[in-house]
Point group: C2
Amino acid sequence: MTPRDSDTLARGVPDLESRLHETHHETLRLWLRLLTCTLLIESNVRTRLRGQFKTTLPRFDLMAQLERNPRGLRMGELSRRLMVTGGNITGITDQLVAEGLVERQPIPEDRRAYAVCLTSKGKRQFDLMAQAHEQWIEEMLGALPAVERRRLHGLLGRLKSGLNERKSEPPPRSARKRVVERRLPREKHA
Amino acid sequence: MTPRDSDTLARGVPDLESRLHETHHETLRLWLRLLTCTLLIESNVRTRLRGQFKTTLPRFDLMAQLERNPRGLRMGELSRRLMVTGGNITGITDQLVAEGLVERQPIPEDRRAYAVCLTSKGKRQFDLMAQAHEQWIEEMLGALPAVERRRLHGLLGRLKSGLNERKSEPPPRSARKRVVERRLPREKHA
């Protein structure tokens, strides 16, 4: 398929891609299409979570991470996995605790920290939602034939690796220089 | 590339995909990977927009749509293109108007409506941001070779068409029946 074919196929509804000029580079086109697909699926999931389970996507995502980790997760681990900042997560956790869906448990090895876990009520509620959620995703992504889904999964895996490698690269030269020049007090007195 | 290879490549950093069990279907895997890639790129863009231009992603996206439509957009058109609900957009527009970056203009054919446009100050500021933004995207998506970017663009185009077709399908039978049965008052008195 040529890029022009896929453009024609994807046209029709005005969305984030509507802002593209003829002169825009293909990386920007790719990014806006990636974002558009994500938003289309996400907004469908949000609507259905609200309609069928009176809940929100951040609450569902948080419970999903806890279901995967029955021994619980510290707030920092949770926030890394959810890819959002801490503030939100504390608020959502408080809500879920108040509703008896989640609980905070002390960590024997670390007095100052605690782990967040699903309660059994939370587990039962999550299982119902997870089953419905997987079916919605299946309906939506089932629009692509299996062979294309596998290809897409592979390509996105390569994109993700590239993005993570970029993140873990050493900081640019100017920043590195500063680190080298700044001696720690401990070294001075060694 | 087999799915296993791409899993290995994409592993390492805990993220939304960490919640997957062995038993989860590949459509769910695909969705969580799509979402993870989007969030990785989006969070990078948010950080840089804040750091370099003291602005937010929703403000940038709104200005981008106006730049593409120099004659202005009505609020409804703007909200459809931005794929978000109206409330946010009104608030952001108010802010941008107060800063002299955007203005509301009357529409001659429709007294009750107005179009939102970039001011020339807004256009200048947007051009600077857009140039930097395109470079960031190029840096991030440049991690994939051009041939794979084109393939990804095509596959996402097919996914998007499938999602839009689903949206425009007729409502399920039960809903249709209700519409047919409910007579409009105008018809009664015709």
